[in-house]
Amino acid sequence: MRGIILKYIVVSALVIVSGAMLMDVSHHVQRAERDIKRLDREIAREEESIRVLKAEWAYLNNPVRLEALAAGYVDLISPEAAQLISDMSVIPDNDPQSSIFIPKRSPLHRDISYDASSPKPIQATYPTKNTNNTVPSHTTGGAR
């Protein structure tokens, strides 16, 4: 008889515990669902503002507008066709075959090149200012 009572107590305790756990889980699920809905709304709102910002970015990048701004604020003009170069080897700086000796640009290398113990005499100058200017910074184009 005592065994049976004990059995019932254990079983009903299990039922109560599992019921409580179920309640807890279902509560969690409900809260998670609410969170999902809220997050969905936030995502939708963010996506919408991304679209608006993209449209505004496209509008601000309108070439007519950019050209007017560039004419007013930038001290540069469009390059002439003859100023464009296709490969960098045209510039003596990068040409290994060039007879002109030009020290490397990076400070570290420059120190070595100017080392007095270096057997190679320093013959030539840096590329003239003019050479630097003919290198257009946008040979591959860009939104203009």
Binding site: I36, K37, D40, R41, I43, A44, E47, E48, R51, V52, K54, A55, E56, W57, A58, Y59, N61, N62, P63, V64, E67, S78, P79, E80, A81, A82, Q83, L84, I85, S86, V90, T134, P136, H138, T139, T140, G141, A143, R144
Partner: protein, 581 residues
């Protein structure tokens, strides 16, 4: 006795019980196995749903939930965006608030209307009061208001006002792509351009990537506008075409209109002069008649045509604009754009063959294109003997500028037919067609002739040193009310470059230009359209990063044609112009 009986009984029962217990046990275990299998099935399915199919099942409802959260009461998906070939946004759909009123909740009509007009200036007061006094519990006040206006309305705090969200088509580039991108009505139905031609794709929510290049489009529009302004012209159009893929890289028709206010545009602005308008483009047809002659008859470049006096046929008199009054070789006919010479070429080709050749180039039928605004060429109904002569220099034949540039592309690209497209072609895609229009050799000869026009002929004003541009001018008198008017011209120039292996075809057409001081009063193609093409080419080179070649006048493509050109002053030996970087 009883005991004995009972015992027997017990033995009996015991035997029965044993067997029935055994039976029940086996039944139970079968049932148990069944249940276990059932649970196992459920577990497997759960595992499948939670782990294996997780992605597929839970992504889909999330998207649906996001769509629901947009709170737009519409089952149709958001219309797809339109991009240029580099991904610049040309058309998009934004969710915008629309303001409505519930008349039964209106407390003070006059002050409500007054404060609304302050926020949205273009409201119609009388229309407003009829909406506010309406019997329905719903009335629109304004569609698609701006976020700032919405905020101001919220600050009124009137309980009778409410918002519904609607989609609105927005074109960030304004009027830059007016005719090719096109526009929609308020319900998002495409009415023109790609919006109409690709309505089914866009309305299914898919994005469209066009072949157009925003930067080139701007350059063509700017330079065409400059030419129109400079020569006080009525209208114009311009194109850049890829000669291999047929992609339209830029397509402009002027005057144009702001796509965001398409409803306010005038008819002359909406009219698409690139694909819908048909024009007699004049001497450009000499490209095709000359190509036909070289293709169909094995004639040398030295073949001559007598252009000493005007040609009379029936009531027509064919004369030259740039009259040389002598016997001309083929290169001379082409570079001086001699009508008499071309008419004689046409005579040699014959009407049937010339017509068939034009048809092969797609000049006699409405072309297929990605937008629906397509003009049908005007072709003489009866092809008389005189028609052959006039058609060989483009008189009496009207085509769309797009059609013309596609035909030129077919001539210069090595002879393969080109069909223009407005949708981006994937890089590395195989050649568009394998329909050959002319042979490789004829194409090469034509390229030399076209280059000659720019180095020595009527198109000199288009020459850019270092870029082997070839082309042909076309100046045609407009037919007004059945008469050709000397003072109303259509000046156009079609060019291709680099001529040794063409990649791009450029064309500019200007409608009714007027000569000015700078052009010595001329309004012909060489003065109006050729400089515009030159400016487009110069800008295009820096945008696409196309460096100039070292220009060497002695190695120019057209040099090989020089023996066929009658030259009064012989070229001095040692005169060598070299343009370096």
């Amino acid at each position: 006795m009883i005991w004995k009986h009972a015992r027997r009984q017990a033995i009996l029962i015991d035997g029965d019980r044993r067997s029935s217990v055994f039976m029940a046990q086996s039944r139970l275990s079968i049932l148990g196995v069944c249940f276990a299998l059932g649970y196992l099935l459920v577990m497997v399915r759960l595992l499948d749903l939670a782990v294996v199919q997780n992605e597929a099942l839970f992504q889909e409802p999330l998207n649906a939930a996001v769509a629901r959260a947009q709170d737009i009461k519409s089952l149709t998906p958001r219309r797809g965006d339109i991009y240029d070939r580099h991904g610049f946004l040309l058309a998009t759909t934004l969710k915008t608030p629309s303001l409505f009123v519930d008349p039964s909740l209106v407390f003070d009509e006059a002050s409500l209307i007054a404060s609304l007009v302050k926020i949205i200036p273009d409201l119609n007061r009388s229309k407003m009061s009829s909406v506010v006094q309406g019997k329905n519990r719903f009335g629109w006040i304004a569609h698609n208001i701006t976020p700032a206006q919405q905020q101001a309305v919220l600050e009124i705090g009137d309980p009778s006002l409410g918002f519904k969200y609607e989609y609105k088509r927005v074109y960030p580039q304004g009027s830059l792509f007016a005719h090719l991108v096109g526009y929609t009505d308020r319900d998002g139905l495409g009415l023109a351009g790609i919006e109409r031609g690709y309505d089914d794709v866009l309305s299914a929510g898919e994005d469209v990537h066009l072949s157009l290049d925003l930067r080139l489009q701007h350059v063509v529009r700017r330079e065409l506008g400059t030419a129109m302004e400079e020569f006080t012209a009525k209208a114009g159009s311009g194109i850049i075409l890829d000669v291999h893929t047929g992609e339209v890289l830029a397509g402009v028709s002027l005057p144009d209109f702001d796509l965001n206010a398409a409803g306010d545009a005038e008819d002359r602005e909406i009219f698409n002069r690139l694909t819908l308008g048909v024009y007699e483009l004049g001497s450009m047809f000499k490209i095709f008649s000359t190509a036909a002659l070289l293709e169909l008859h094995n004639v040398p470049m030295s073949k001559t045509f007598d252009a000493r006096k005007p040609l009379k046929i029936g009531r027509f008199t064919i004369s030259d604009y740039h009259a040389k009054k002598r016997v001309l070789t083929i290169p001379e006919v082409f570079m001086y754009s001699s009508n008499i010479g071309s008419a004689l070429m046409g005579q040699m080709i014959g009407g049937k063959a010339l017509r068939a050749f034009y048809a092969d180039l797609g000049l006699l039928d409405a072309m297929r294109f990605d937008i629906r605004e397509i003009g049908r060429p005007i072709v003489p109904k009866i092809w008389r003997k005189s028609t052959t002569l006039t058609a060989s220099y483009g008189h009496g034949l009207a085509t769309t500028p797009l059609q013309m540039s596609a035909a030129v592309a077919s001539i210069v690209n090595g002879g393969m037919a080109v069909h223009p497209v407005l949708i981006k072609v994937d890089e590395g895609a195989i050649a568009q067609t394998d329909v050959r229009v002319i042979s490789e050799e004829t194409s090469e000869k034509m390229r030399k002739l076209l280059r000659l026009v720019v180095t020595k002929g009527t198109g000199r004003n288009a020459d850019v040193k270092g870029y082997a541009l070839g082309g042909k001018t076309g100046t045609a008198e407009k037919s007004v009310g059945g008469y050709y008017r000397r003072d109303k011209l259509i000046s156009s120039f079609v060019g291709a470059f680099p001529m040794d292996n063409p990649r791009y075809v450029l064309m500019v057409m200007v409608d009714e230009p007027h000569g000015n001081k700078k052009s010595y009063g001329y309004a012909t193609a060489g003065w109006v359209a050729a400089p515009a093409v030159k400016r487009i080419l110069t800008s295009m080179a820096s945008i696409l990063g196309l460096p100039a070649d070292k220009y060497d006048a002695d190695n120019d493509m057209a040099v090989s044609l020089e023996p066929y050109i009658h030259d009064k002053k012989k070229k001095k030996i040692g005169e060598k112009s070299l343009v370096s970087y």
